[in-house]
């Protein structure tokens, strides 16, 4: 046995060496959670062999990689995926009802409030989120209390959240999956993960296989994601010059129709998305999932007025979570004048999400064609 199993070597050849690794951390989190310890996160947050001798050539890291399509059909069947944005039960514009959350969130604070609901009702033992370490560095944390969650909100959902949305990575990226591996020992058996499409895809593939550490993940909340941007000094200077902004004065970043930079003096600068596309990593350019199609609930600012979060309720579990949080008063839906306006706004929001999804899918096809040299 063994000859035919594709291993990390193939993953390196087919994904990492081609610049297609999205740094979701899935391969590493599995390898270390299983105490196989053959991999580690190396330079540039890319997975590398820590000890090649220890690799048992199980081939699981290869299978669960978001860029590898072996399990894609199974995933699609399992979640009843359909074009153009995956399966969903409802789309809503909602916001938090919590003053504290509202103060620190950027859009509607829906993610934070859903996490608070889950924690308060003991539906989860913890939430894997990322929070700001320094202005452009983020770290994954396991939020165990309301305070943890709200503290992550302050950055996750004012700065990082929107960074996630534009790909979420800016000059840093928070590989949240590796932090999942340590969970079981801490007696956390039900957790929620908030993540980008590649992270959620990796989790869902692990769940297809029924393997650790994904068995601990009860809920997945997915962020809309166009691309991950990595600004090196050159890119930063070029943007600063072209749009007359100083990166040190950025208070928050957001994306709706375009890339919105809010400066500390309150001024906002709108940058067309095509201007920042060039800073996206190839992995993101080759990713076809904008609206986080396999999450229980997907969220983002696109399609909602300021102060609201567009929420796509996808799975039965997500539906239960969303309606319960609504019923218990953790979040509220936007008020419309009448059903006509409601219908119109929802159609508009859906159209925007569909258009972004199409764009991302098309871009991925082109990028892959380019990479394959066709």
């Amino acid at each position: 046995m063994g000859e035919e199993i594709k291993t990390f070597k193939d993953l390196r050849k087919e994904v990492i060496d081609k610049g297609l690794c999205g740094k979701c951390g899935g391969c590493y989190s599995f390898c270390s959670a299983g105490e196989l310890n053959a991999l580690e996160i190396g330079e540039g947050d890319l997975p590398v062999y820590r000890d090649e001798e220890k690799c048992l050539k199980c081939g699981i890291c290869y299978l669960i990689c978001p860029q590898i399509d072996v399990l894609d059909d199974e995933l699609k069947a399992r979640f009843g995926w359909m074009p153009p944005i995956g399966s969903y039960q409802a789309i809503s514009s909602a916001r938090t009802t919590d003053k504290d959350v509202m103060d620190v969130c950027t859009d509607g604070g829906v993610v934070t409030s859903l996490l608070l609901y889950l924690l308060d009702r003991n539906q989860i033992d913890g939430a894997v989120v990322s929070r700001k370490k320094s202005p452009f560095a983020r770290e994954p944390i396991i939020a165990l209390t309301r305070e943890d969650v709200v503290s992550a909100a302050g950055s996750q959902y004012s700065v990082s959240f929107h960074l996630e949305e534009i790909g979420g990575k800016y000059s840093t990226y928070s590989p949240i999956l590796p932090s999942v591996k340590s969970l079981e020992k801490r007696y956390l058996t039900n957790i929620v993960v908030v993540g980008t499409p590649c992270q959620i895809s990796s989790i869902r593939k692990m769940q297809c296989l029924g393997i650790l550490p994904a068995h601990l993940i009860k809920y997945t909340i997915g962020l809309f994601c166009i691309e991950s941007l990595s600004f090196d000094d050159l890119a930063r200077k070029s943007l600063e010059k072209r749009f007359d902004i100083n990166f040190d004065n950025i208070r928050k970043l957001n994306i709706k129709e375009d890339f919105i930079v809010t400066l500390s003096n309150g001024a906002t600068v709108h940058i067309p998305l095509r201007e920042v596309d060039e800073f996206a990593r190839p992995a993101c350019l080759a990713c076809s999932d904008f609206s986080n199609e396999y999450a229980d609930i997907s969220v983002g600012g696109l399609g909602s007025p300021d102060g609201y979060t567009t929420t796509i309720v996808r799975t039965r579990l997500g539906e239960e979570l969303f309606w319960n949080a609504l019923k218990q008063g953790y979040i509220e839906e936007i008020a419309f004048r009448d059903s006509e306006e409601r219908r119109l706004q929802k159609t508009k929001a859906l159209a925007k999400i569909v258009s972004f999804s199409r764009r991302k899918r098309l871009r991925a096809e082109n990028e892959l064609r380019k990479l394959l040299g066709a």
Binding site: G34, L56, C58, I60, G210
Partner: protein, 432 residues
């Protein structure tokens, strides 16, 4: 070997009844084939934390008997095996047994557990009543015998998808064999003892108890695993929703039992196991207060009434006469038990931390199929049919039944019946 007998006996079911019957037969000098469907012998008794009315550790008194079965020169244990066909008649049965592939070479494996520790698959553990998780390569339970792990072929990634194979790679004895096939054994036996035991009744259909809907409503067998030190919480009595220590517990009796819509019979052991579980709650938490909601309190064996009195006097157990009408829940997931206080004839509700359902004992799944294979009759409830004056004889000559597969009984009764059935089987083969 006893003079005049070269016939062996087949014992079906490796719980306490089957184990006892095998040991008695073996001691008589008769060759025994003990067939167990699960990967290990031990049965339901292995899942219990303590036994009533002595509070003995269940596995501690069972383990020596399990070990004795394996050591006994006259007993051959066939685990992970099922009886597929029985032909012939009393004194000369021809039996076909399917031994399912474990995918582990039993002769090579030393039971070190390297493979189970590394199996990356995590699925609900049936032995822990699905409260914990196990790998696809797993030991059925901690003290299980033989100490050989088993691959669950439904969840194994190598057998289903051709990847992984970690267990084989980490096994220093090269004992993992993915090519292993099910094998059939053919036996010739003079008599058969059936000891297939019971399953707990699934209360999901009884919506008034809200089992499956509320997390803090659990079954008695789940409770046994929760308080067991080898169970999913390591023996901490914590309620499922928030893992807080449990203080007030409602034990709801006759769930599915003595109920014409479900099982009209009395399950016989529940009054006593509820008493035991209530006593153990206090042993786990000195502040625990238990309420047993009973229809009639049936403490009919030696020492049982005294055990109940001990519970009342020393362990804070309150017995409330009244059938529970329904269980609801407050905003903090505390179950609320609605019942009729029969002394005052009024409807009362009580808020508790956790509710434990004493579900009926019903025949094991597969009892109908086994009865067909054996050519024996079942009674109206699905238990093996017997007559009042020959309570251990099935409807077919040479086939005897004992333990909870013939009616719900406790451990001492199972053991007594097992010895009786073994004697009848011995008598049958020794007369041949």
């Amino acid at each position: 070997m006893v003079a005049g007998s070269d016939h062996s006996v087949l014992v079906i079911g490796g719980g306490i009844a089957g184990i006892q019957a095998s040991l008695d037969l073996g001691e008589t000098g008769i060759k025994v084939h003990l067939v167990e469907r699960e990967p290990n012998i031990g049965g339901r008794m292995a899942q219990l934390d303590k036994t009533f009315p002595t509070n003995d550790c269940s596995i501690c008194i069972l383990s020596p008997k399990m070990a004795e079965c394996f050591r006994h020169p006259n007993i051959t244990v066939h685990t992970y095996s099922e009886v597929k066909e029985v032909k012939g008649s009393k004194g000369d049965f021809f039996v076909r047994i399917l031994k399912k592939a474990r995918f582990v070479k039993e002769k090579e494996c030393v039971g070190c557990g390297d493979c189970t520790a590394k199996c990356p698959v995590k699925v609900p553990d049936e032995f822990d009543m699905r409260l914990g998780r196990r790998g696809a390569m797993y030991f059925y339970f901690l003290q299980g015998l033989p100490r050989i792990p088993t691959i669950d072929k439904v969840h194994c990634l190598y057998l289903t998808r051709g990847v992984c194979g970690i267990c084989k790679k980490v096994c220093k004895k090269d004992a993992v064999d993915f090519e292993q096939k099910d094998v059939e054994l053919e036996l010739n036996v003079g008599a058969i003892v059936v000891a297939t035991g019971f399953d707990p009744f699934d209360p999901t259909g009884l919506s008034q108890y809200s089992y499956g809907r509320y997390r803090n409503v659990i079954t008695a067998l789940e409770y046994e695993r929760l308080i067991c030190s080898s169970g999913p919480t390591g023996g901490e009595l914590e309620r499922p929703s928030d893992r807080k220590p449990v203080e007030t517990i409602a034990f709801i009796q006759c769930v599915g039992s003595r109920d014409v819509r479900n099982n009209p019979f009395c399950s016989s052991v529940c009054c006593m196991h509820a008493t035991k579980e209530a006593i153990l709650a206090r042993e786990h938490n000195p502040n625990a207060r238990s309420y047993v909601f009973y229809t009639d309190l049936r403490a009919v064996r030696k020492g049982f009434q005294k055990y109940v009195a001990r519970g009342q006097e020393q362990y804070g157990v309150t017995y409330v006469r009244g059938r529970v009408a329904k269980v609801t829940e407050d905003d903090y997931e505390n179950p609320i038990v609605w019942y009729e206080e029969t002394r005052g004839s009024e409807m009362v509700k009580m808020k508790v931390d956790m509710a434990v359902l004493a579900t009926s004992l019903v025949p094991r799944r597969g009892a109908v199929d086994l009865a067909k294979v054996l050519g024996v009759k079942l009674d109206e409830y699905g238990f093996f049919k017997t007559n009042p004056l020959s309570p251990l004889d099935s409807s077919r000559d040479g086939i005897f039944v004992c333990g909870s597969c013939r009616e719900p009984v406790d451990i001492p009764d199972s053991v007594a019946q097992a010895s009786g059935a073994a004697e009848k089987a011995a008598e049958t083969v020794m007369r041949m």
